[in-house]
């Protein structure tokens, strides 16, 4: 037995020794995409929620810096290379120029074209003015290998709160920065942007896969922490006509996924820090998608635990998210064409769960 072990190549050895169970958790560079029509398949990297936080002068919170640096370094090592990189919002913590600059500097080490999504922590200091100087329009669309991508600014809120409520911009930013702040205000896409979206989608054939890239969830999960989009139903209505629609969202700093009608929802991880699942707040009700198998409970003693980034494979218009978790076994959530919903490749069945997913 020991001798034959030595003659195996590493791929087989890893399988034999139980180090990896399924294709979904193979090391990044060893995955073989098993989709039909491979000419339309592509992969892109998704880094999100870096929350670069300025302390003073030239010093920033080291913990969040390291998370983003690592994501950038690992993305650069990918082989085969991803087509492009998406940054999912909240590059800065309090929207300051120093933070956006420092974050942009770390991101500039990426060897790929990068597109950015607006997050509330980027927006509420100057309403995205400096962000736009660095990264371009706050909402836009583009096509890639037969998929229509729409990037929304989904963290807007009521005009009164944005323009009239607060005496200073700094105050406004601080109020929105507190996740559990009762003075906050729910996120939305807003009427103007919804009109733009409707027009944009009108030009897209119904059998073209549509990917909506957003910071807020385009669902109503838990209002107390703004895991919420006020006009979620209206945005969803615009996506329902499409055969294959996927929403990718950040903001929640945890693994979530859902299927509503023909729309698949997938959250992405943060590089900075994890957030608790809403059900861990005993005083309020929340509506977590039942489908979601939670990520392993975060262990605060490991700084990078429950943080990471993701590699998204798109095949036949569906997404497969390979979560690169720095301190944990990687997870894969992929659309299952048989059941018509996203599923975790290892832990979806109840009897496959492990203690770190139950012991919350």
């Amino acid at each position: 037995m020991p001798e034959s072990l030595n003659r195996m190549n590493r791929r087989d050895f890893l399988k034999a020794s139980g180090a990896i169970a399924l294709a979904g958790t193979l090391p990044v560079s060893m995955v073989e995409l098993a989709f039909a029509d491979s000419s339309k398949n592509f992969t892109f990297a998704y880094i999100s929620d870096a929350h670069i936080q300025h302390i003073s002068g030239n010093s920033f919170v080291r913990n969040w810096d390291r998370g983003l640096i690592r994501a950038v370094a690992e993305t650069n090592l990918l082989d085969p290379k991803p087509d492009f990189v998406m940054f999912g919002g909240d590059l800065a913590q309090l929207g300051s120029k120093a933070e956006l600059d420092h974050g942009a500097e770390i991101m500039s080490k990426l060897n790929f074209k990068t597109r950015y999504v607006m997050g509330e922590h980027d927006y509420y200091l100057d309403l995205g003015e400096y962000w736009s100087e660095l990264f371009g329009p706050q909402h836009y669309s583009f096509d890639h290998k037969g998929v229509h991508f729409v990037v929304l600014n989904s963290i807007l809120t009521y005009d009164e709160w944005t323009f009239d409520r607060w005496p200073t911009a700094k105050q406004r930013m601080l109020e929105m920065a507190g996740l559990d702040n009762p003075n906050g205000s729910p996120f939305m896409v807003g009427e103007e942007q919804r009109k733009w979206l409707a027009d944009d989608l009108a030009k897209v054939k119904k059998d073209t896969p549509v990917f909506v890239v957003s910071h807020s969830p385009i669902q109503k999960i838990y209002k107390g922490w703004n895991f919420w989009t006020e006009d979620a139903e209206q945005v969803q209505a615009l996506l329902q006509p499409f055969d294959k629609a996927t929403v990718l969202y950040g903001h929640v700093h945890q693994i979530q996924y859902n299927q509503i009608g023909n729309i698949t929802f997938n959250s992405v991880m943060a590089t900075a820090w994890p957030w608790p699942y809403p059900r861990s707040y005993a005083q309020a009700e929340s509506h977590m998608p039942k489908l979601t198998v939670p990520m392993n409970r975060a262990d605060p003693f490991f700084e990078r635990d429950a943080t990471g980034w993701q590699l998204i494979d798109v095949g036949t218009g569906r997404a497969s998210l390979r979560y690169q978790l720095y301190n944990n076994t990687n997870r894969t959530v992929a659309f299952n064409t048989t059941t018509g919903q996203p599923e975790d490749s290892m832990y979806q069945a109840e009897d496959k769960r492990v203690p770190p997913q139950n012991q919350y």
Partner: protein, 383 residues
């Protein structure tokens, strides 16, 4: 009255007798002070004869191409089962590898072997050095089998221990005996153990007690070098990138990583590559798992008996315990101010310890030597 005493003695005799019986068949149920129960695999139970056979195999230099190298060449009993002060070990013809010899002491508590954990247990680990070109240099294990199947002392021993002879004696039995010997090297009862688990306030000096406070609090060493409520093995059996070695190849990583993955080595090839190619060696556990998590990661060694096993780290690059602490204090770089590598473990950051605290921490680590091990080391002087 007399019958009472008689029954009493009989009862006592039975009691002692039965415990004696179970003692011979099972393992010693009481581990040394400060250690958890010794994990023995059910298919390789300990017996004194098996341990003695393993000892003999461990020290046998015939299992090398030059007839000069045995396990004990790099794992010297009197040096805490290492080859201190060598940075990296020397095999046949003084050929050097890339790694510092880890101790065998208390290795039974490890859940994987080698600095990168590429071997799942002690039995499997012992197979590898025999066929590594810079260790024993054999082409395969046949020469070993030839010896153990013909040497009269070995044939008698293998028959007694395993009930096997001739071709039935395979590397399975050989490695089981070696592992059995290694599992017997369990030592606790250090001054630290007597202070922490038995409350003997005289066991440690004040400096050592202050050092323990640094170990648990500001130094956070306990995060990976585990100490628990009733025992302490000083390792978490996990792999961490603490910025040793990998800092030397930071610029090369974008080339090394894809090259290594494309090469798709067999396991033996990995074993060879790791010891013969310094750059590959620095990739750490990545060569075993090919996951980014493990870039530059190495296994947390135990700190027990650490005073005897200088120099330190997987490449022997830290000469003294003080150097080690300074490396951690700098936040994962040997020279303060050097850039840290991108894949540094999340727990590593500047500690802001002052000189006194560093000295105390080193003093504390010196309290982790078991008395029997200290005696073994002292014994080399009395030849």
């Amino acid at each position: 009255m007399r019958t009472c005493i008689f029954t009493g003695i009989l009862f006592l005799g039975l009691l002692l007798g039965s415990s004696f019986l179970t003692g011979a068949m099972a393992q010693d149920p009481v581990p040394p002070l400060g250690l958890p129960p010794v994990p023995i695999p059910p298919d390789n139970l300990q017996t004194p004869e098996k341990i003695a056979l393993g000892d003999k195999l461990f020290h046998d230099t015939r299992f090398s191409t030059t007839g000069e190298v045995s396990c004990a060449t790099c794992h010297v009993r009197e040096k805490g089962f290492t080859d201190s002060p060598l940075k990296v070990s020397e095999g046949i013809n003084k050929l050097t590898g890339t790694r510092n010899a880890p101790t065998v002491l208390n290795s039974v508590y490890m859940t994987s072997m080698f600095w990168d954990g590429r071997s799942p247990d002690l039995e499997d680990q012992s197979l590898q050095p025999f066929v590594n070109p810079v260790e024993m240099g054999l082409k395969d294990h046949e020469p070993i089998l030839a010896v153990v199947r013909s040497d009269p002392d070995y044939t008698k021993a293998f028959d007694a221990v395993f009930g096997k002879s001739g071709d039935a004696v395979t590397m399975k039995e050989v490695t089981q005996a070696i592992a059995s010997f290694e599992r017997d090297q369990v030592f606790g009862d250090t001054p630290f153990d007597r202070w922490y688990f038995e409350g003997d306030e005289t066991a440690l000096t004040d400096a050592q007690k202050r050092g323990f406070d640094v170990f648990i609090n500001q130094g956070r060493c306990v995060s990976c070098h585990r100490v628990e409520q009733t025992q302490a093995i000083f390792t978490d059996n996990r792999f961490h990138n603490i910025g040793v070695g990998i800092n030397n190849i930071q610029g090369d990583i974008p080339n090394l990583v894809p090259k290594f993955v494309k090469a798709d080595y067999t396991r033996t090839e990995v074993d060879v590559a790791v010891l013969t190619n310094p750059s590959t060696s620095e990739l750490g556990r990545f060569v075993v798992t090919s996951t980014f998590n493990d870039l530059g990661s190495f296994k947390t060694p135990t700190l027990r008996n650490i005073s005897l096993t200088a120099p330190y780290m997987h490449d022997g690059s830290q000469a003294t315990l003080r150097d080690v602490v300074v490396h951690y204090n700098n936040g994962g770089v040997t020279v303060a101010g050097d850039p840290v590598n991108d894949f540094l473990s999340g727990g590593i950051r500047p500690l802001e310890l002052d000189d006194a605290q560093i000295d105390d921490l080193v003093a504390f680590m010196e309290s982790l030597t078991s008395p029997e091990v200290a005696q073994m080391a002292a014994a080399t002087g009395e030849e």
